[in-house]
């Protein structure tokens, strides 16, 4: 079988969590073939990342060149093409960098491309059988991917759990000399940090989070009312921000904020993996959605199959009622 490589995403000298997940996927393709890490970058950050990978990879290919200091997919693609052997299988994380790099890389390698892979069920002949999701996670799908001329597989972050344990004592191999001068038609200028809004949802213990199920802008008042009664704050998923109904600073997800509440009420949210990636710290999650098959019910602790536009006002009324009772009890004691 072909040699398997893991492209390591890193930032500020620290490898992404997916660096520990890609070897797990690689073992499901070929348990006998140790997976090689490929790291591009520049300077001390790159060296630190390579060093940190020695525990989990037998071999780490380091590619250092100053234009690679910021990960520009076009430059990285050229660097990879200069070092990868024919027929290689390349694993990359399916994130904002992976979708920039992988499709074009597969074309230039004349290799197959399988995006957003959740699981790998094995190889029959030259065909890999993998699991994906479609329709925002509402259904799963088996796909077959032809490995005969190599492949690029974009692996869903978090889908392959690192087993830990094995200490590889890997060696770092400097491949920088294989790369010629790199130029690209796209040039990194700067990163603009996320705007901070009126409320910092990352510091809230209780979030009432709304999604597409809120239906229209005027209905946001329903969520705000229940949040006010509960002493919580309203956050949201991507469609609500796309529609310009709430600020980007209120968006939970991989392209929005990462939140760590104690309690998370997901209201009319389908539960895409991009949204779930923004919820950390295992909060108590309540999902309310009128579609009983919504993917959110697979991950929530408690589910309620109901229309949020009717359920939330009932909840708000009840919270206020109890609040009055509790208030009275406090006054009496």
């Amino acid at each position: 079988m072909a040699r398997i490589f893991a492209y390591i995403v890193h930032k500020n000298g620290v490898a992404d969590d997916t660096a520990a997940e890609l070897p797990v996927a690689a073992r499901k393709i070929d348990p006998t073939e140790p997976c090689t890490a490929v790291v591009t970058g520049w300077g001390a950050d790159l060296d630190n990342v390579c060093e940190s990978l020695r525990a989990s990879y037998g071999e780490i290919w380091k590619i250092a060149q100053e234009p690679l200091a910021y990960p520009n997919a076009e430059l990285v693609r050229k660097a990879l093409l200069a070092v990868l052997p024919a027929g290689a299988i390349v694993l990359t994380p399916h994130g904002h960098f992976g979708v920039d790099l992988a499709p074009g890389l597969s074309i230039k390698m004349n290799a197959a491309y399988a995006p957003d892979v959740l699981d790998i069920e094995g190889v029959e002949g030259t065909w890999l059988k993998a699991v994906r999701q479609e329709f925002g996670g509402q259904v799963s799908a088996h796909v077959r991917c032809d490995l005969s001329t190599g492949a690029v597989l974009n692996i869903r972050p978090g889908a392959f759990r690192p087993s830990g344990g094995a200490r590889a004592e890997g060696r770092v191999v400097d491949q920088s000399a294989e790369i010629g001068p790199l130029t690209a038609g796209r040039r990194y200028v700067e990163t603009i940090a996320a705007e901070t809004g009126d409320v910092d949802i990352t510091k809230q213990p209780v979030l009432v989070s709304i999604g597409r199920g809120i239906g229209e802008q005027d209905n946001i008042a329903i969520a705000e009312d229940v949040a006010e009664a509960m002493g919580a704050v309203v956050s949201c998923s991507r469609p609500v921000v796309d529609a310009k109904w709430m600020d980007k600073s209120r968006q939970v997800g991989s392209s929005g904020q990462t939140v760590r509440p104690k309690v998370y009420l997901a209201c009319g949210i389908s539960g895409s993996f991009q949204h779930l990636a923004g919820i950390k710290g295992s909060p108590f999650m309540v999902a309310i959605n009128k579609n009983p098959k919504a993917p959110i019910f697979r991950v929530a602790d408690v589910g309620i199959a109901d229309d949020i536009l009717e359920f939330l006002p009932a909840l708000a009324a009840r919270v206020r009622e109890e609040g009055c009772v509790a208030g009275k009890e406090r006054r009496q004691s």
């Binding site: 979708v99 491309y113 001329t149 200028v189 603009i192 104690k262 991950v299 359920f311």
Partner: protein
């Protein structure tokens, strides 16, 4: 600026609950409501806003069959000057690479400064734009959330990266950009608008018109194939609260109190 937008007709997930049909290996396709892929619609709106500033025109193309014409007319009603239905029996069963190869031939038969796609369709592959760019040797950027036209055949673009941050890049024209939802507010299209473009002819070039080798595309050439659909694993699964709405509210109140959900 001459802009090509590659669009696709998909089952509308905001209108449908996608379910497996009885045999369990495909989705239930009866009564599905189709529409233009959401991100593609944002791409068309972005293209229209760019030509409103710089001049030029917008062409919308899709690879498909007769049934896909409706999305071309919808995007023409938004303001696209032309709709093109790239259609041939040989294209059936193409994977992302096949679709990109077909679009490459179409692009090379015209003159476009900028090619836009939606960031992804209902299959979540997010692949055709990046593949097309590589085939054309054009620069590419995915997840684009802003476009500014600069002097000298260059764009300043913003890309969505992690944590709500935005990555700013300069990119040379011609290029391919995949457009993220939320980049703009797509204009409304009424029935009247669609009626006005109902009789505008839509060209339907096929493999031979575009010089495409039928064996290089379609199911036979596909390196990635979907085998079947199946129900996602249940995971730990939520405990569903049943009963009347009042009973459910009661149960939820108890849980919220226990878990610190009421402040």
């Amino acid at each position: 600026m001459e802009i090509l937008v590659c669009a696709r007709r998909v089952p509308d997930t905001s209108e449908n609950e996608i379910e497996l049909h009885g045999a369990g290996n495909d989705i239930e396709r009866d009564d599905l409501v189709y529409s233009v892929n959401e991100a593609d619609n944002y791409a068309v709106e972005e293209a229209l806003q760019i030509v409103a500033r710089t001049g030029g025109s917008v062409t919308v193309a899709t690879v498909g069959g007769e049934e896909d014409e409706e999305i071309l007319r919808r995007e023409m009603a938004m303001g696209a000057a032309r709709g093109v239905l790239i259609s041939d029996e040989a294209f059936a069963g193409s994977d992302g690479r096949g679709i990109a190869a077909i679009l490459k031939a179409f692009v090379q038969a015209g003159h476009y400064d900028l090619i836009l796609t939606g960031v992804q369709a209902e299959d979540g592959c997010a692949q055709v734009g990046g593949m097309l760019a590589a085939m054309l040797d054009y620069p590419f950027a995915s997840l684009v959330t802003s476009i500014e036209v600069l002097e000298g055949r260059e764009l300043k673009i913003g890309r969505e990266i992690e944590g709500g941050s935005k990555e700013i890049n300069g990119i040379d024209l011609p290029c391919v950009l995949s457009i993220q939802t939320g980049i703009n507010e797509p204009r409304y299209v009424g029935m009247r608008g669609i009626r006005q473009v109902a009789s505008v002819p839509i060209p339907t070039p096929g493999a031979s018109d575009l010089g495409i080798d039928p064996h290089a595309v379609g199911e036979g050439a596909a390196k990635m194939k979907r085998v079947d659909y199946f129900a996602p694993p249940a995971g730990k699964g939520a405990e569903m609260l049943g009963g009347s709405r009042e009973e459910v509210v009661d149960k939820l109140m108890d849980l919220l109190k226990a878990k610190g959900g009421l402040n």
